[in-house]
Amino acid sequence: MKKGFRQSMVWLHTWAGLVSGWVLFLVFLTGSATYFKDEITRWMQPERPLHSQVQSLPSTTEMAVQGLEFLRSHADGEAYWVIRLPNDGSRAGNNGSRGYPTDLRVWWNQGLQNATLDPITGVEKLPVLTRSTEGGELFRGLHWQLHYIDTQAGMYIVGVCSLIALLALITGVVAHKKIFADFFTFRLRKGPRSWLDGHNVVGVMALPFFVMMLYTGLAERQTYLFPVPAKLSPDARKPVAMPLPEASKPIAYADIPLRDILSKAEQKIGAGEIGEIAFHRSGVYTPWAKARSVPIIAVSRSWGTQLPFTYLDSNLQYNALTGEFIGGSEFGQDPRVRTKWWMVGLHRAWFAGAGLRWLLFISGLLGCVMIATGLVLWSVKRREKHIQRNAVPFGLRLVEWLNVGTLVGLPVGVAAYFWANRLLPVSMADRADWEVHCLFFTWGWLLLYAALRPIQRAWPEMLWLATAAFGLIPVLNALTTNKHLGATLAHGDWVLAGVDLTMLVLAAVFGFAAWKVQRKQANERRDTSVGKSATSTEVPA
């Protein structure tokens, strides 16, 4: 529509960025936090004991037998049992235990009841009572479904904005003329030019990561965003035949050659690799496994030990009567669905150890910086045009308000969520919900504040507020719990200490930004008062 291809792409980039920018800021922020959701959850449950030296665990078979004994005495009539073996926390682990040793747990009653057992004696342990909190799971929910609105609607909003963001990313690359030379260009103190350089450098630094995350994120939701092939192709329209053989009486515990099966399984997948043992004592009828009418023992790995990291991957099935190997699970193995599960695994970084997750976390925050610099760049460029006029267009005022209100307001909201976790009374009703309300209330109040304050004042004030909000969290932690930096560093619990230290680093980042903004504004005021033009941003050396 404009003269050249590049100009059209710049136009599209600007508008796609503006439309999706603030939502994407939230998505990138919460997504980055989600990489450490289990660690954050643990930080938000200070009642849980410190990470101590893992006691040496007995062998797989002994622990499985302990679990089986417990199940036999408590749930003998049940057809479905699960035993989850403990691991030392170095793996993604089963269900929220990264960085923390897991317990020996058993499930019965179709998974509705469970118990935690001591791995050596097999006696039931009482779980630690922790305060009611959503923990890091809030960030995961926020990331793809937003909050307060219908989850499907939230998913579609995030999906559409991500699609627009993909457009913004591609057009950004296309519009960037000297993409290699510009990587080494950073002109300070030149107003919009500096913002553009910052936006470009950050954008290019983690470009592969951004493309991958946007694309794989969209791929996870492909059935919702592009449903036509699934709905109209003949494969999909054929009903899935689910044979339902007669459920036989559950076989007796004593008849199961458990040690034999476990040793065979360990030969196949390696010693110590078994994560979960499921007993289908009358046969299997679940949709994701082939229906089998014989009693089955299904042995699987811990989650996160092998791509495509579906938790039923390398699920080995043995006949529970004879101990004979029947086959593996087919879930995620079909070449047609494999690509999608690879993408899901990539997006969620199931394979990533702590080091790689830190890298992904920082890359995600770089995404936030890229979005923020882009939005601020837009408003700074427009501001320059209107510096002489009194009537500022509504669009510019809206963008400036949303910028300070969201780019600073939302992080402060996140800090408020952590503050609420420490300050809300433990016995409060709906405590978990109120922690989340605190996040949104804080963000809302800051949006109101930003609307009432002149934008020039709002930026440094809110940046200093963010500095205090994050920087004081370790102090608040020390005042309200016994899991503060003094204790966690002394005991080497790096996960808990890491959360506190990250708060300090974030505070430092906001503090630096606040200081720079304040200095720049002071210089501008000084320049105006000695008669220089207000648009000059050159600072004498």
């Binding site: 529509m1 791929a219 592009f226 036509v228 192709s233 003949p234 047609r336």
Partner: protein, 100 residues
């Protein structure tokens, strides 16, 4: 003069709105038709799941083109033409599959 400028501005905005609609709705329709076609022509790979994954890679260039093409009429025209062709082919393939 001001009235003319006003109508020009309205016209410009309608053009933009039209392109957005073309890219969003028309582009989506074309992408869906092409994805279905891919799934029907090659059911094992990419198949249904694969063509859904590839949809995004197809949609983005279509949108880029929609905003670059010289006139809005061209955009609508080509989108409708190609969507019709792709859908027609899909419909014919589905009928074939059903009969067999």
């Amino acid at each position: 003069m001001t009235v003319f400028a006003f109508t020009e501005s309205i016209r410009y905005r309608l053009t933009v709105a039209s392109r957005v609609a073309a890219a969003a709705v028309g582009g989506y329709a074309l992408t869906s038709a092409l994805a279905l076609l891919m799934a029907l022509l090659w059911p094992v790979w990419p198949g249904v799941e694969g063509s859904q994954v590839l949809s995004f890679a197809v949609y983005v260039p279509i949108v880029l083109w929609a905003f670059h093409a010289r006139s809005v009429w061209r955009v609508w025209g080509w989108l409708m033409l190609w969507t019709l062709l792709a859908s027609g082919l899909c419909w014919w393939l589905l009928r074939q599959g059903g009969a067999a």
